[in-house]
Symmetry: C3
Subunit: 170 residues, 3 copies
């Protein structure tokens, strides 16, 4: 006969595994995109997942990549290839994660660090706030929607960060 | 009758949950402060928790915020509001955590990244070492005392980092 | 008689503990090296572990530190001591970790952030991709080989990042 504490243990263990899997998924974004691995980058998302991001600081326009084809096309595109040929790190901070059943929200900062034109140093080209909406699939956690907004002083990025504020989640 | 291994499992599970909760608490600092969420920032600390930090590089003076009122006042103050209106990320690195019963120490790096005056790039305005003294409360882990010292070559920041050096802790 | 689910629980718990221990080990690198703690830095590696790194951006030569003596000598050397006297953060990002039995691979970004010559700001002197090969020892996880290659647009760093791409690992 089973010890009644086992159900509680399994629930708590699964909660920790979910957090580890989500942190790992997000930690794979930079390596995938900075190595130019288009297929592996797309595989972090669901097949019809989206990624929208600010175009530049002080400009409230955004661009949205749609589905695996959109994400692959970004990685293979001339803009991104030029960035990685010059030397670049898509550097993400530790995620703030809230899991609710088969869905989760993660909030991270992101930095785009590129080699300086003069070549001997690096510069912080972009700093953004990111909201990752994740879903549990048969193959594990995947990104359904990522939104990145630049920390240029406008409200959009602060609205993303506010999602994590005040939600301990653990 | 209970399996004797269950007590060991529960102890190990709780140890991992403590680490996850502390990492999550610290991951909430940046989002709270950069979204201007004064109440949520203060709630990361105990009611009488403190936060002391270096004023500027090469200057050994520090300022100390006292209790929830002090922390709220900092977030709502003109200095901080100006920083986030300009565009800012209080970017923390992954914590090194040592838990001892109901108390814990975490050591992290912190970067203050702000939009450049010219507006198209970002700069690293500050880089610091942080010592977080945490305590387990009825509502979960909270910060009792945070000290941040700038990595300006003086001894204070190195003393904080030395706390984590040589303490595997897991 | 033991519940058959206990074996599964213990295996999953150990997997999470391995990840936590590896993350903690790597989180100890910056504090050890930036506080000038030579012995503690060396102790992150096995006794004959190695650390190879790019010398400068755009230069494909690397330097390799061999064993505890080599790592201690680097920390105590004039080059490194000068860097920390000037003010420096060896800032690592969250690791992407894949454990396979008693061996593990972690991939991280690394930034070397130093105080600017003018003293009021900080600059990103280096940005690199890191491959950590880890081994489980009687004393816990240790680094057997770390390779760091600068993100200067050359292939070496992208090859390291490609290891993590497409390996969920959890």
């Amino acid at each position: 006969m089973s010890d009644p504490r086992l159900d509680d243990i399994l629930r708590r263990l699964t909660a920790l595994e979910d957090r580890a899997a989500i942190a790992q998924l997000i930690a794979g974004y930079g390596p995938s995109v900075d190595s130019g691995s288009a297929e592996e980058t797309a595989a972090l998302w669901t097949a019809d997942g989206t990624y929208s991001f600010s175009i530049r600081p002080g400009d409230d326009r955004t661009e949205t990549l749609e589905g695996a084809d959109g994400i692959r096309a970004m990685v293979e595109g001339e803009g991104h290839q030029g960035i990685i040929r010059g030397g670049a790190a898509h550097f993400l901070g530790p995620p703030h994660i809230v899991v609710e059943g088969d869905r989760a929200t993660a909030v991270t900062y992101s930095l785009l660090i590129v080699r300086d034109d003069e070549g001997d140093r690096f510069v912080v080209a972009r700093a953004g706030a990111n909201d990752w909406q994740l879903v549990r699939t048969a193959a594990g956690w995947r990104v359904e929607r990522r939104r990145q907004r630049l920390l240029d002083g406008t409200e959009a990025a602060r609205a993303i960060l506010r999602e994590a504020a005040g939600r301990p989640g653990v």
